[in-house]
Point group: D2
Chain length 422, copies 4
């Protein structure tokens, strides 16, 4: 019964995220990494149907046999997928139909949850919860991409709606804490708390005194240590030896990153990886995603629409290449994921997915589960970078200090950020 309630809450939250959307917003896929919101709603439903209902609810009948083809994401085990027609080319099933599909599967799931589950089913249920929560974060980042790349730049919301309370709330939160960190933002020391719109962008908002925590060398334990749910890639708690290092208490702010830009950071190869430099030049990258220089003033597309750039806010929507280049320029480096995990208690995290220097690799003893579930994480362990923490778009109960997120180094549509180490 408690599982049923949790199921209901999580499923409802996905739909709440989509409430502000027009029907048309559910459909488009402007780049390959961004999925149409209606696809997320269908795919998370397909997950429960395929892995739980089909196996554990006797007599369950598929809502529509063709949906496996439409809503399978990357599970080779489960059959062929929509590949040649991209997800964004599919107008059907429509939004109403997908909500009906959700209702149909939800009803079946709740019937199933009336009785105790066998253990395998419960494991899959927990995985399904976490899977849906991951797609809730993607829903927000994908919606931001869809609206933020539309020439009309529509806002996702005008004020804080309850059901998306967590989104970018922390960003605001940090702003309120500035008084507590007077050493971090010089402008605050000098000029007090300026209203955002009034902030002159040429004021020097730099970091004279970056607060660094130092961690002594030693053997540390890495990986999930609890008994609740975690992903397979966090398991295999193991020892790692770390030399002494320092790590910043704060994320890099927009003001700090602006210094990098203004000092020619995007024009000097010396700060960049060779591949990063190619990426900058091939894609004519001049600033973080969503920054627009309008008549010489930096504007920022946010979920509330166009805003003057908030210099006090933590930088976001940068690629690993940019994170690395910034760190080089600042004579610092990015932490490894192990350093991050060891030090995480000493700073506030959760606003931005923090790029680490670590490649996404298996922990000692890692092995893929048999079957489709085994495709969840392991097969992506090449050419990606680990991000640690969580972001303002991460659902409330979906964070752990051992959580390992991962993306290719050029991607930046997630709420990514930078924490420096040395």
């Amino acid at each position: 019964m408690i599982l049923a309630e949790k199921y209901r809450q999580i499923r409802k939250h996905s739909e709440q995220i989509c409430e502000p959307l027009e029907t048309e917003d559910y459909v488009v896929q402007p780049i390959v990494d961004v999925s149409p919101p209606k696809w997320h709603l269908g795919h998370t439903t397909w997950f429960f149907e395929t892995f739980i209902l089909q196996s554990f609810l006797p007599g369950y009948e598929l809502y529509n046999v063709a949906y496996n083809y439409v809503f399978n994401s990357y599970y080779e085990t489960v059959g062929s997928r929509v590949i040649r027609t991209d997800r964004g080319n599919l107008s059907r099933p429509g939004v109403k139909e997908i909500y009906q599909y959700r209702a149909y599967v939800d009803a079946a799931m709740l019937r199933l949850l009336e009785n105790p589950l066998e253990q395998k089913a419960e494991e899959l249920l927990l995985l399904g919860f976490n899977h849906e929560q991951q797609h809730q974060e993607l829903l927000l980042t994908d919606i931001k991409y869809i609206l933020g790349h539309n020439p009309l730049f529509p806002a996702y919301r005008t004020e804080m709606a309850e059901h998306v309370h967590q989104v970018e709330a922390a960003q605001n939160a940090e702003h309120l804490h500035h008084a507590e960190h007077p050493e971090h933002i010089e402008v605050a020391q000098k000029g007090g708390h300026l209203p955002h719109a009034a902030q002159p962008q040429n004021i020097e908002v730099s970091s004279r005194f970056r607060e660094m925590k130092t961690i002594t060398a030693g053997l540390y334990e890495i990986g999930y240590a609890g008994t609740d749910f975690c992903f397979d890639n966090e398991l295999g708690r193991h020892k790692v030896y770390l030399p002494q290092f320092s790590i910043s208490s704060n994320l890099v702010s927009n003001a700090e990153y602006l210094e990098f830009i203004n000092s020619g950071g995007y024009e000097n190869f010396v700060w960049w990886h060779s591949e990063g430099w190619d990426w900058v030049n091939n894609n004519k990258i001049l600033a973080p995603m969503y920054w627009h220089s309008v008549d010489g003033v930096w504007q920022n597309y946010t979920l509330e629409g166009f805003q003057p750039l908030d210099l006090y806010a933590p930088l976001t929507h940068i690629s690993y290449y940019e994170a690395y280049a910034y760190a080089s320029w600042a004579k610092m480096r990015l932490p490894t994921e192990f350093e991050w995990e060891v030090a995480a208690d000493s700073f506030k995290w959760g606003q931005r997915w923090e790029w680490t220097e670590s490649a996404y690799l298996p922990y000692p003893g890692f092995s893929k589960a048999p079957g489709a579930i085994g495709e969840y994480n392991g097969k992506f362990m090449v050419n990606q970078k680990v991000l640690r923490g969580a972001s303002v778009a991460t659902p409330a109960e979906h964070s752990r200090v051992s959580y390992r997120n991962f993306f290719h180094p050029h991607l930046r549509w997630q709420f990514t950020g930078i924490r420096l180490a040395k």
Copy 2:
């Protein structure tokens, strides 16, 4: 007043074509040649607003200044366009908003049409009518592509709706005429009129006696001869000398094309242009667009959904490369556009856009009009092929014997067909 009525009718027809659509169907753009239906609705409206209302209705206020950026198709004169974000990436403006935009512009247009127009405005109005009619045909072909490439294969309509009466009606029509052309389809001679579903596809449905009309050599006049509207590319009526030729009274049927397929037509380079052969191999082309071999039986996606292939219907959705290859295989050729125009009185046309051997080139004395209107046709006169006639998707009053349609040789999402010559 008569112009106002015509305006109303044409504008209404575009909306009628879209009536069967779900909101989601208006949004997607599966390939670059196919535009989202909502874009067609907006773009045709933008045409009246930009070229007529802005110049001829004093005090007219733009509905939304950003729409020029969104709905400009290819008019360099008028400013920058949506290029980096494809049309199919734009969820906004939404469908309702675009219908409001149409209503706003229609109201202004009807105010303008209450008084006599100056001549330049009337010319642009007629161009606007024809422009919208061209997009009505594209609406149907694009809708067919969108639904016909969806893995659920939804039908556009289940029965003949009044407002789309012309679409593929002729196809059915031709079928009824089979009794009148017993020499054309052998199976009809032998077996009478089989119900479609019962047609065994291995029956030989071939063309023993193809009826050919012969036109004697001589000097002929080519180009538009009337005084009503025509496009600039039809003007410049001029003499062309034609050697004697013969031209088929009938379009090539599905049955005939099936013979080509069954005899290995797609596997033998000898029938193909070098570029056509590359196209076949690079794209793994095995049959006309919308043909699907399901358990060895040819099915055909039509606007009414999946159907067994109608062997008696005229072939459609083939590229110029396929038209040329078929003609070579049949020891015939495609007519030139001049032969077609001279002979057109001797056969029934209008079911399929008929590929000709002619390249799309200017007629003697052709010159582009100054300004944006001059971009309508002239700048496309390279690397395209002329198609003559009209199709089941062409609006009723939008056909002329001198009409010159044009597409690149690999395209096949239009209702294209083959008429042979010798």
Copy 3:
């Protein structure tokens, strides 16, 4: 015996063209349209071996069976070819080996030519002669591309070598004729004959009085009328009706084209086809191929190396897109291939391949010969433009008024030029 002598001469000429090359120059293929010189030498040899020796010389043994794979250009009939590995990736067979291959085949050919040939063999022999002559022109244009795109810009020759006497000789020749055409180049009228290096490029060297010949309307015969060799695409002499037109006596000069550039010709879409405009922008085209603006002065890479741009010389190395744009800007047009052929007696031609407005299409009654020889021309009759005349790179006895050359509209590594019509 006379055939044997002709064979010897033609074969020798190909090798003479290559005499100035370093071994390394024979090997590279910088773009797909340019073949390595050693490939040309091998391929023309393979042609005689495959189509003549194998069929008509009893007991002939192939030099190397693998060569069919290496040296087949595009004959599907004859088997698979080097496609996936580009020709420029093949270091073997080496240059010496290919000359040995030539000697081996030549010896066999000369044995064959000691006796009278049957008619089919003689036809193929004549085709082989013309085929090799076509490759002689390509050898020169490909060598120019290879050396002219090397950062060291090596010259092909320092003075006029005897065996390449025809190359760009005409260019010089025209220069000497300036006194005879005082109306053509204004600077000549004013300043007499300036040494090239001293020509100030900002002097106005324009065409005040362009000499135009007028041809009256009427029915004309087009196509090859003689009894000697011609290609299949010239056959089928037929009537064409032409309205009255005028055609320039001169080719467009570098000076004239410079006016187009200086007036912003490459920056104004209005002169261009839509595809041409894309080509200009995607490839950042600013001038004809081989023009380099060095410290504000136009330099031109020629077969003699870098030279100051000769303003009096006929423009060359421009695409059809550029030819069309120039003509539009000059308020003229390009002639059709029919106009060109009819008017050709009234002007000097042969310096540049002259882009025409005509698409490359079959003449009435054209049919492909059976077998590999039939692949020679017909399968390219789509998406290409006809060029008429000949160029300074065309072998001496390889020109006819009915000759139809053809290239894709974006290509410009041939010695192409512009003659205007009206």
Copy 4:
């Protein structure tokens, strides 16, 4: 003087490697990863000229100022490079010219080496030695690629030439050792030592008993510990904690890999990374590079030309994706680079570059040197995998247990191999 001798030897060895080449073989670049041999010869020379002679030999005059443009590989600091024209498009400078360039630079270097060097110069000299040795390995692998992808499959050598004694010698060597490892190759146990040509490929040549060394858990020191030359990426010796692991004494043999192929290894996604599976399918990979199934028998292109596949030889020319997939299939894994370095004393290494599971990342405290030399390693530390050991193509004195080689996971033209761990 001892440095001068070493300089002479190393420089001579590069030229000896090229001795068997035809001039044409020096020129081509079949894929972007493979450079023309003449480019290697010029580039290594440019390295000494640019970084040593220009700074340390007073009055030194550049051989040719344009060579910086031609022979700079990736040093942004030093100026623009040949990028848009690939290296394989450059016929000039020719081979003779490049040998003259080498002689010119060598003479100047030997003059410089007559006197004691200042320390900075000596450091650069040692780097130049190692740089040239790296290109010696690339010369061999690139030559193998060039000849092995030519349809004539020419051999690089027919017998063991003295100066390339090290190449693939070890391969033979291993074969002789089979008697010493009877447990490794079952066929040897059963059938004795079959001559290669006689080996029936369907005989089961499998690994019943793989000898594994076990290393106990603990803190280990990683990184270069000596005082001689090493690359910057090996520096920063540091502690790493390793859990207990086992590592194979032998490399995976061709016979073992054949089992993987025969069991459908390339057809089952379950063994592959997601990106690896895409790579297999997009590139239609069916076997290691250079394996050809001729009439059902596996042939292998080697530097001695085509050979029947030697089942006893260690597998080579596989990508990381293949290495990973094989290990998964074998219920094992690849070692990390740290495990490899710790265990290296317990097995024979040096025949194959061994793919590790480790991503190429900086060691703790790594920092790039200022200037061009700093571009040597650091800027490549993303998206690549570490390979450990050395190969039969590695120059004799260019191996260290701490050496970190790195390539992208899809590359396989190096002599790569697999050692399993658990």
